[in-house]
């Protein structure tokens, strides 16, 4: 397992920004690391919009926000001394995991991240953490908690 091959899973949250900064500090200017910034697309729920147009508009806004965050995250890493050539960006579209025999939308973001970690043979997986209460975790779930409990074959950094 190559611990220096890092999968840095982000959304556009402050917790993700902290995870990016933490990774930047640890990796610094070292040449033998690889960092993949990964975003797993979670489009807004269609059912919460009154019509197709307003949902599509919200999807476009969300995609733009994430693309901009990913560029920003790369800039943060570079500003912290990380070599640009070791950083890659991956935006995992929902179309890449929707429509499979068993609809995977309900499998959650954590499962998609862990799948990406396995497929890419990443030795380190980094995520941010919101710090939710037990009640919130029960009702809404938590990506970082699922990853802590279920990830295999890698080190996990959870940045709070």
């Amino acid at each position: 397992m190559n611990f220096k091959k890092i999968l840095l899973a982000v959304d556009a949250s402050e917790n993700s920004t902290r995870a990016v900064q933490y990774t930047g500090i640890i990796v610094g200017g070292a040449a033998d690391f690889q960092i993949e910034l990964l975003y797993v697309e979670r489009l807004p729920e269609r059912d919460i919009f009154p019509d197709e147009n307003s949902w599509e508009k919200a999807c476009v806004e969300e995609k733009n926000k994430i693309r901009s965050f990913l560029d920003q995250a790369k800039n943060i890493l570079v500003e912290m001394g990380v070599r640009p050539e070791i950083i890659s960006i991956r935006y995992l579209k929902s179309s890449e995991f929707y429509g499979l025999p068993e609809d995977t939308r309900f499998r959650g973001v954590a499962n998609q991240i862990m799948q990406a970690q396995q497929n890419g043979d990443f030795g380190t997986l980094v995520v941010g953490r919101r710090g939710v209460s037990k009640a919130e975790e029960f009702l809404f779930g938590s990506v970082s908690t699922k990853i802590i409990h279920h990830s295999k074959g890698c080190s996990v950094w959870v940045v709070e």
Binding site: E45, D47, A135, F138, L139, G141, S142
Partner: protein, 321 residues
């Protein structure tokens, strides 16, 4: 009102007072204007409006102006018409708040999915002239599960031995129904004890109201599972046992002071969930299911099937008491 609708009303409901005959609506967008005596026309079917529905909770009547009690003027059958109302509101669940949305399309989709499955309310969607999907729901003649249980006039021990096994069995059927929704990538969205109706004629438990939608979360079934746990607690305890009810007598106060934080519900920390402390004859296997929803739990259910699997054992234990 046109003469044809007037004639239909006279023919189907001769007792309806002519002076109350109102307007004909083919566009239901302005649902607040549609009142008693008006007729809603949907894809060639005429529905006479009798009244607005209302929800009764905690003794307060909350009118639902977008839900109309109606009679179909062709056969005289009663229906509930749910008109389109895109409402967004903050729902409080214990200490937590979440954004909730009313989605007519979600309910229409689920009505199509569960057609012919009488564990659920039945209905169809008709489109008005403005393109609004109006849900035309069959009326369930029965009472809500909370009223059904509360109206059983006996002490808890007798209830638990005589009535509860059958109620639990039917509730497990309701859990199976929710599992069926999840298996089809749908969520009920508003699982609560007054959203199960107990039909007078058959005694069947039937789910109603599927139009709540939420933003996506990492635990897509969490809210439905929480609702099922909450109902299980209610039917097992024959009501809610919380800091108020338990402290209402000297012996209750003494009992309450002996409880630990872990004995309470994770989402409502004033509600007792470790019911075996109160009713020691509740089998351990059933209490263990409840304790998955307690403040002290380390293990929660991710799926309805996990909960059902434990409940099947509980049901066996209860049946052999």
């Amino acid at each position: 009102m046109t003469s044809s609708a007037r004639e239909l009303i006279k023919e189907v409901i001769p007792s309806f007072p002519v002076r109350h005959l109102g307007k004909i609506y083919t566009d239901t967008t302005e649902f607040m204007n549609i009142n008693y005596g008006d007729v809603i026309v949907l894809q060639g079917r005429n529905f006479l409006v009798l009244r607005d529905e209302a929800e009764r909770r905690f003794g307060i009547e909350d009118p639902k102006y977008w839900v109309k009690r109606c009679r179909d003027l062709s056969l005289g059958e009663r229906y509930i018409l749910k008109l389109v109302f895109h409402e967004k509101f903050e729902q409080k669940i214990g200490p937590l708040k979440i954004n909730c949305y009313r989605s007519p399309n979600k309910e229409s989709r689920i009505l199509d999915l569960i057609r012919g499955d009488y564990r659920f309310m039945q209905g169809t969607t008709l489109i008005d002239d403005a393109g609004n999907p109006v849900r035309v729901l069959e009326v369930i003649r029965g009472k809500s599960l909370d009223n059904f249980v509360e109206d059983i006039d006996m002490d808890h021990r007798t209830y638990f031995h005589e009535k509860f096994p059958e109620i639990l069995e039917k509730f497990m059927g309701s859990c199976e129904a929710i599992k069926c929704m999840h298996d089809n990538h749908e969520r009920h969205g508003d699982v609560r004890r007054d959203h199960i109706f107990v039909e007078y004629e058959t005694g069947a438990f039937r789910w109603i109201d599927f139009d709540y939608a939420y933003e996506s979360t990492e635990n897509p079934f969490g809210l439905d599972l929480f609702g099922l746990g909450s109902i299980l607690l209610f039917i097992t305890g024959k009501g809610v046992h919380d800091n108020v009810s338990l402290n209402s007598s000297p012996s209750g106060r003494e009992f309450f002071s002996s409880l630990r934080p872990d004995d309470f519900f994770l989402i409502f920390p004033n509600r007792l969930i470790n019911l075996r402390r109160l009713y020691p004859y509740i089998p351990e296997s059933l209490n263990r299911v409840l304790m998955h929803f307690s403040i002290g739990t380390y293990v929660t259910y991710d799926t309805v099937e996990e909960m059902l699997s434990d409940l099947r054992q509980s049901h066996k234990d209860i049946s052999s008491l």
